[in-house]
Each structure stands twice: as structure tokens, then as C-alpha cells.
């Protein structure tokens, strides 16, 4: 199959600006995009740089942006992605490029993986043999752990795009692995850690990550699980992220009291009732909203019918959480 490869090229050694180079490649129908790149490097242009290791979707080394979508180059056949005879290959986005298709994962991924401290500390009492745990408890841990650290979920993350310090779905999927491992002895500590600013609570849960994971590991859902587990443990804030705690408590209390959300109260309580500076910051928004009839009066909204039933549900659910 004849294909035109448009490949991102950047070589800081020769001082030129990033550009695309075009190569004609003729490979069998079964060829992958990685086969195409290797063919270009071996036969046409030995200066082309890219990473590739296992060649079978096990190691995550070859994450690339192929025809505008994050993919593993080794696991994608040319025939599946080619558009009008063209395959465009670029480095993943929002990351420093070192040379051509080689990019720097250090700050983007590896530091964040380390930041969630994803190692297991054997839970006490440490048994003599293996831990006796149900297969169901480990099945999802195993699946989360099958993550190949390609970084594509982070590449697609709407928050990382604007805030490179956000820990991101890849590291939080790694955290999931530890948080839900029944053998781990640092469950609460890790939840506190990932609840810090820049952690799980900075996620917008927009589900972008799910669409970007080439393994279908559903990172957003795992992140939700981590967050819900933090709520269960009552350490949703950590001591260093009190705003999260206040926001959650206020939302919860509002629904508990009236069955629905008291938005005015939520805004105020999230800042903290004694947080003068924070409350003052709200004022311009409130002042703009009042004349438009858009600022619901805090603490005055009415109970919905059914509020009592909802309160009972919440009370019961909270009891079973403990």
C-alpha cells in the first residue's frame, strides 16, 4: 500500500525550526504506523528520531499523535488510520519535544507518577504466605496496573493543557492501583496525598481521558473511584485543601436539608464563612448577578417535597460508608 507519511521534524542541533517532512512509503497492508516510521529511518532518512521498544503495545514507548489522534504507533495499522493516502505523525501535545518524535516525559509523566507514591507497603499484619484476598478485589487493580504509561490520557487532558502542574489521569490511575490494592497499608495517607491541591480534586471529570486511553482502561472512572474513596474516608480535603472540604460539605448539607442545591450558600460556604478575602472576591460576581435576578438568595430556598426521603437516603448512605 502506497502511503505518504508527513512526519514532524525538529532538530535543535541544526538550529532549524520545526517542520514536516514528506516520505513515500510502500508497505504491505498489515504494516503498522511504526513499521512505516522504521522503514523511513532505515531506508530513507537515518536522522529521523523516534522511540519504540516492545512493538506490541506492552511498553507504551511509542505514543504519538497520528492523524491528529493520540495512538500507540506499534498497535495501529496504517490501513486503519490513513486518510486520502496520508498519515501525519507528530509528537504528543503539551510536552517539550527533544528531537523529531522524541519528547521529554520527565516532568510530564514520570515526576507525577512518583508524586502519588504508588508503591505498596504491606498492610499489617503481614501474612507469612500470600495475602488472602478475593479475586474480585484484585481484578480491577490488575486492569489498572496494565497501564503502559504511554501518557496519552494526560496528553488529552483538558486541565493539563492549561496547567502542567495538575497531576493528571495517568498518575491518578496509578494511584487507583495503590488505593484499591487490599494489601496496601498506606491507604489513608495516599488518599490525603492525592487530595492535595493539584491532585484528584482539580480534575473536571470531563471524561476526556477515557477517550484517549489506547487500552480502554477508563482513567476518568478510576479517578472518580479514587475521589469517592477519599470521600468515604472523610479525608477529601487533607488539611491542605480545605476549600474542597467546605465545598463538598456545603453541597452535601444543602441537598440534605432541602433535597436540592442552594447555589448561593454553596458559593459562600466554599470560600469559608470566616474567609473575608475569599468572600470579598465573590462580591463582583454577586453584584453583577443581583440585578439580573440570577443571584439566588442563600439560606432561603425552600425544601423540595421529598426532601425528607432524600435526607434519609443520605444519612443511611453515610452510615454505610463508615
Amino acid at each position: 500500500m502506497e502511503t505518504t507519511f508527513k512526519v514532524y521534524r525538529f532538530d535543535p542541533e541544526n538550529g532549524s525550526k520545526p517542520d514536516f517532512a514528506t516520505y513515500q512509503v510502500d508497505l504491505p497492508d498489515s504494516a503498522t504506523v511504526m513499521d512505516g516510521l522504521r522503514h523511513i529511518r532505515d531506508e530513507q532518512d537515518p536522522s529521523l528520531a523516534f522511540r519504540a521498544s516492545c512493538e506490541r503495545g506492552s511498553c507504551g514507548d511509542c505514543a504519538l499523535r497520528i492523524n491528529k489522534k493520540g495512538r500507540l504507533g506499534c498497535s495501529l495499522k496504517i490501513a486503519k488510520t490513513v486518510k486520502n493516502g496520508v498519515v501525519t505523525v507528530e509528537p504528543i501535545r503539551n510536552i517539550p519535544v527533544l528531537k523529531d518524535l522524541v519528547y521529554d516525559l520527565e516532568d510530564f509523566l514520570w515526576k507525577k507518577i512518583k508524586a502519588v507514591q504508588p508503591w505498596i507497603t504491606p498492610r499489617e499484619p503481614e501474612p507469612e504466605g500470600e495475602y488472602v484476598v478475593a479475586e474480585e478485589q484484585l481484578a480491577e487493580v490488575r486492569k489498572a496496573m496494565s497501564c503502559v504509561m504511554c501518557g496519552l490520557c494526560d496528553e488529552g487532558c483538558a486541565v493539563i493543557k492549561i496547567d502542567k502542574d495538575f497531576v493528571g489521569p495517568a498518575a491518578l490511575t496509578k494511584a487507583y492501583r495503590a488505593v484499591f490494592d487490599p494489601r496496601d497499608g498506606q491507604h489513608d495517607e495516599r488518599l490525603t496525598l492525592v487530595s492535595e491541591p493539584g491532585g484528584v480534586w482539580d480534575c473536571t471529570h470531563c471524561f476526556e481521558a477515557n477517550g484517549h486511553c489506547p487500552l480502554g482502561l477508563e482513567p476518568t472512572d478510576r479517578l472518580f473511584e479514587v475521589r469517592d474513596e477519599a470521600i468515604r474516608q472523610g479525608i477529601r480535603s487533607g488539611t491542605r485543601n480545605p476549600k474542597v472540604q467546605r465545598h463538598y460539605d456545603s453541597f452535601l448539607n444543602s441537598v440534605k436539608r432541602s433535597g436540592w442545591l442552594d447555589e448561593g450558600r454553596l458559593a459562600i460556604e466554599s470560600e469559608g464563612l470566616t474567609n473575608i478575602a475569599g468572600l470579598a472576591k465573590l462580591l463582583p460576581t454577586v453584584i453583577r448577578a443581583i440585578p439580573k435576578g440570577k443571584a439566588p438568595l442563600p439560606y432561603f430556598h425552600h425544601k423540595r417535597p421529598g426532601a425528607e426521603a432524600i435526607r434519609r437516603i443520605i444519612d443511611k448512605a453515610q452510615r454505610s460508608e463508615v
Binding site: 537515518p46 503495545g57 503481614e126 500470600e130 488472602v132 496496573m145
Partner: protein, 540 residues
């Protein structure tokens, strides 16, 4: 110029395990690896870890099975060491988080793999290597073990028979540097790319075997090249042998089962029968059901889909034997120690003597864990016995000059890629599953010829950053060393034993050949010696 007590070269399972063991022993340890550790070939290991658990099995039985598979070439001390301690290693891996599959009692589930008399393979779906690699990596970052990634060790520094460290090339920058260490552990992995097709990752080029070989050490049992029966037809991927234990059926193109008995045969026999079946074979998972496939073949389900366009629950997967690994390697004792003081080796690059002439499924990863740990501990223990010495900067001069020479060679004719391709094709064609004198002679001639061409090959690309052609130049040098050793040993062994099958000498000849082959680097190329099998003939 960096200096450590112990330097581990290679970031796969054996390397990371060695690093943790050394760290635990209280020495200053660092990793140096060609790729990021998580990109290591260990991530593809899919069979599991072997150890005897429970009253129906014993480590002695595991040892017996191992020795039987090894067809008379196992060193019993090494086999016993591995089989006796593997259960502790597996338990420890469980405690630090390898998500081994559980049985209904919540204890380790086990696969029954070919050649094992009991089900004794603990597994984490068909991604055990990946799970162990990631778990060990987690512990390494916990221990804050320094890691030099994308560095290629280009030579060992050995002075007066004592290893002082390595010289290495930083792939991202082209910088050369010396890493001084009181002990070096080579854990650079296998050499699968010496064949094509193979199941090897891009990185499996026998780097460490070549480093040791050039430092004068012997490569043992190199003719023992194992094929994997369940390789994909067009990709390096392969199905875990656990598939057969789980009930997947190996069929001929008419859909008739190839294997009759419940007890799957050893890999070599299976590979030879598959290779002689002209129309290929398929592996049929359909009777296993989607749910169980999803739970136990996490990797294969996805890979079959992505790379073979097959949904395992609805169509059989075409498979073929692919060269899998060289069972031999750098000769070591059970502590991973080599004949060079301060130099240790573990994992696929090493030959502590557990595999002999054929390896049981799962024993390779098990050996990486057990002997990785032992090599790390032994290297750490070695530190106090040595007067540390820093590698002189002048040591880099030779390497710098070599680079200058390489870059100044003319680039007409051969490229490193054409030579590497010719080498891998030669090996597959002439030193494959079935060998004979004529083919081996042809192979020897080809390898020697390629070796000569290699000494003249020039590089088209002269950049410093991520110069893949330069990396290939080094890797090709290693692959040629490994190929030379394989061919030499295969030629010499005029019998059939384990995975080494010669059509001109189909019988096993214990009287003359029950010993290891040992290839060293002579002035005129590979030179063969033999070494006795330890405790040969005694039952474990």
C-alpha cells in the same frame, strides 16, 4: 563522571530486583539503562512465575521437572537454589503488590504449563512480566534509586581482572561518560534480535553478553535457542502458554486439534511440529468465553484485536513459532558472579545454569527474579571487599577515538541496517529449529563475512542527539558477537539435545556431549571450550 558502590546495567525485572537487593544491603546503588525501565522487554513476559506451593507439590519436584526439561545440561546447584527460594520471592512480590490472580479461596491461582508435573505457575493474567516490572519499579522509586535512562553501556572497564565500572553513551545527547563502581551487575536482557522473525523487543541485542564476551568472559550454552510456539504471524507478539492450560485449542487450518493429551508437550517439540505443518496453525479461544478471556488474557485480547484484527471470542488466532530467546548467556555462579572480580550478571543475559538445553515455561522470569536478587545482594557484599577506584578520564579516550573513526568512514554500500537484517535472516535460515552441518557452515561463513563488513561500515547520520544509527552500530556489534557464539557452539555440538536439534545428529549423545559449551572471544574469532555440568547425573 559518576561513582556508585553498585551499578546495575539494565532496568528490566532482573536489574530492578538486583537494585532493590543492593539497596536493601545498604550500599549506594544506581541504574543505568538503554530505555526507561518500564519500556524493558520484561514487560512482554506472559507466562508467569514458577514455585511449588502446597502439599501436593514440592520444590524438589519443580527442580526435577526443570532438570528433565534441561536435558542433562542444568547445573543442579543453580536449579535447586531457584526452586527452593522462588516461593519466597513470589510471596514477597505479592506483598509489594503484584496482582497475582487468585483462586476461589483467595490464594494464588496457578497455571499448569507444559513440562510441569503440577500447576505451579503464579500469574497476573497474561501480563505477569509487566506487573512484576511495574511493581519493582514502584519500589525502586520509593527507594529513590538513581536511574540513568537512555544510556548505552559501550564497554566494561576491567583493570587487572577487576571490574571498575562502565563507559557509557548518553543516547539523547551523544555524551560519553564513565560510571565508576565497586561492583557492576549486567542485567541487559536477551539477544532475540539476532533472529528474524522473533518475539524480541527492539532493545534485545545481547548488549551485556557482548560486553562480557569482549572482557574475556565465556558465553555458555549459546547454541540453545528457544522458539515460542504461539507467536503472532506478522508481529513480535505472542500468546502466553497459559492459553493451552486454560483450554485454548491449538488447531490445524481445518480446525482439527493438534494436541491430543491434556499435558502439553515441551516447547521445542511443539515448535518443530508446528514449523513442519505447512499451512500454519491457529489458537482457538472460543470455548473459553469472553468473560474469562477478559480476566485472564488482558493483553492478548487487546493485542489480537489491534495487531491481528481478531476478536478472540469469535475467531481463532493464527499462530506460528517465533524465535523467543537464547537460553545461554554470560556464565555465572548462583550468586551471579562471573570470572571477573566485581562483575555480576543476572536475567536473560546470564547463564547461572538453570535452563540447560531447554527452559520450562515460566522459569525464565522466575530466574530473573531469583538470580536478580542474588546478584544484587552479592554485588553489595562485594563492595566492602574492594578498594574503590575511580575510572580515569583517559579511559574515555579510546571510545572517543572509536567514534571519530566510525564517523569518518565512507558511507557507500552497506549500512548498519542492511548488515543487521542480513545477520538476522542468516540466523533464522541456517541456525533455526532444525540444524545441520552444511547450514551451520554457511551460517559461520556469513557471520564472519558480516563481521568483516561491519568493521568497514560507515554511518550516514552524524548527529549527536538520539542518533539511532549510532545506537544500531553498537547493537549490531553485540549481535554479531552473539551470533558468532551461537553458530560456533551449534556447529560444535554434534548431537541433538533440548532445543538444539540437528538433522544430521538426531540422537542425544551423553557420553560425548553432556557438558556445557563455553565460547570465548579468541584472537581469530569465537573459540569454543567446554565446561562440566555441576552434579550431572544426580537427581535433585
Amino acid at each position: 563522571m559518576l561513582k556508585y558502590d553498585v551499578l546495575i546495567v539494565g532496568g528490566g525485572v532482573a536489574g530492578l530486583r538486583a537494585a532493590l537487593a543492593a539497596k536493601q544491603a545498604g550500599v549506594q546503588v544506581a541504574l543505568l539503562s538503554k530505555t526507561h525501565p518500564l519500556r524493558s522487554h520484561s514487560a512482554t513476559s506472559s507466562d508467569g512465575l514458577n514455585a511449588a506451593f502446597g502439599k501436593d507439590d514440592s520444590w524438589q519436584q519443580h527442580a526435577q521437572d526443570t532438570v528433565r526439561a534441561g536435558a542433562g545440561l542444568c547445573d543442579h546447584a543453580a536449579v535447586e537454589e531457584m526452586c527452593r527460594t522462588a516461593s519466597d520471592d513470589i510471596i514477597q512480590l505479592d506483598h509489594i503488590g503484584v496482582p497475582f490472580n487468585r483462586n476461589t479461596e483467595g490464594k494464588l491461582d496457578r497455571w499448569a504449563l507444559g513440562g510441569h508435573t503440577s500447576p505451579r505457575t503464579a500469574f497476573s493474567a497474561d501480563m505477569t512480566g509487566h506487573a512484576v516490572l511495574n511493581t519493582l519499579y514502584e519500589q525502586c522509586i520509593r527507594e529513590e534509586i538513581p536511574s540513568h535512562e537512555e544510556w548505552l553501556a559501550t564497554s566494561l572497564v576491567v583493570e587487572d581482572g577487576i571490574c571498575r565500572g562502565v563507559l557509557a553513551l548518553e543516547l539523547g545527547t551523544g555524551k560519553l561518560d564513565a560510571f565508576s563502581a565497586s561492583a557492576v551487575v549486567l542485567a541487559t536482557g536477551g539477544a532475540g534480535r539476532v533472529y528474524t522473525p522473533s518475539t524480541a523487543s527492539q532493545s534485545c541485542c545481547g548488549d551485556g553478553m557482548s560486553l562480557a564476551y569482549r572482557a574475556g568472559l565465556g558465553l555458555r550454552d549459546m547454541e540453545m535457542v528457544q522458539y515460542h510456539p504461539l507467536g503472532f504471524c506478522e508481529r513480535a507478539a505472542f500468546a502466553s502458554e497459559g492459553a493451552l492450560g486454560e483450554g485454548a485449542v491449538l488447531c490445524n487450518p481445518d480446525g482439527q486439534p493438534i494436541l491430543q493429551a491434556d499435558d502439553p508437550p515441551l516447547r521445542d517439540a511443539l515448535c518443530r511440529s508446528l514449523a513442519s505443518a505447512e499451512d500454519g496453525a491457529t489458537l482457538d479461544f472460543r470455548s473459553i468465553g469472553k468473560e474469562r478471556i477478559g480476566a485472564r488474557f488482558l493483553y492478548l485480547e487487546r493485542a489480537a484485536n489491534d495487531m491481528a484484527g481478531i476478536s478472540l471470542d469469535s475467531a481463532p488466532l493464527p499462530v506460528m513459532p517465533r524465535m523467543h530467546r537464547v537460553l545461554g548467556g554470560i556464565q555465572t555462579d548462583t550468586n551471579g558472579a562471573t570470572a571477573v572480580s566485581g562483575l555480576f550478571a543476572a536475567g536473560e543475559c546470564a547463564s547461572p545454569g538453570v535452563h540447560g538445553a531447554n527452559a520450562l515455561a515460566g522459569n525464565a522470569l522466575t530466574a530473573s527474579v531469583v538470580f536478580g536478587r542474588r546478584a544484587g545482594s552479592a554485588a553489595a557484599a562485594h563492595v566492602s571487599s574492594i578498594d574503590p577506584r575511580t575510572i580515569a578520564d583517559s579511559a574515555l579516550q579510546d571510545t572517543r577515538r572509536t567514534l571519530e573513526v566510525i564517523f569518518s568512514r565512507p558511507t557507500a554500500g552497506d549500512t548498519v541496517v542492511t548488515i543487521q537484517r542480513a545477520l538476522a535472516n542468516t540466523m533464522a535460515e541456517h541456525v533455526g529449529l532444525v540444524r545441520d552441518e552444511a547450514r551451520l557452515q554457511e551460517a559461520a561463513r556469513c557471520v564472519a563475512d558480516l563481521q568483516t563488513r561491519y568493521t568497514q561500515v560507515g554511518l550516514r547520520h552524524h548527529g549527536k542527539m538520539y542518533n539511532h544509527e549510532l545506537l544500531t552500530f553498537y547493537e549490531l556489534g553485540a549481535l554479531l558477537d552473539v551470533a558468532g557464539a551461537i553458530v560456533t557452539a551449534a556447529q560444535e555440538r554434534q548431537e541433538s539435545r533440548g532445543v538444539h536439534h540437528r538433522s544430521d545428529f538426531p540422537a542425544t549423545n551423553d557420553a560425548e556431549w553432556q557438558h556445557h559449551s563455553l565460547v570465548t572471544c579468541g584472537p581469530d574469532g569465537p573459540s569454543l571450550a567446554t565446561s562440566p555440568v555441576v552434579n550431572a547425573g544426580q537427581s535433585a
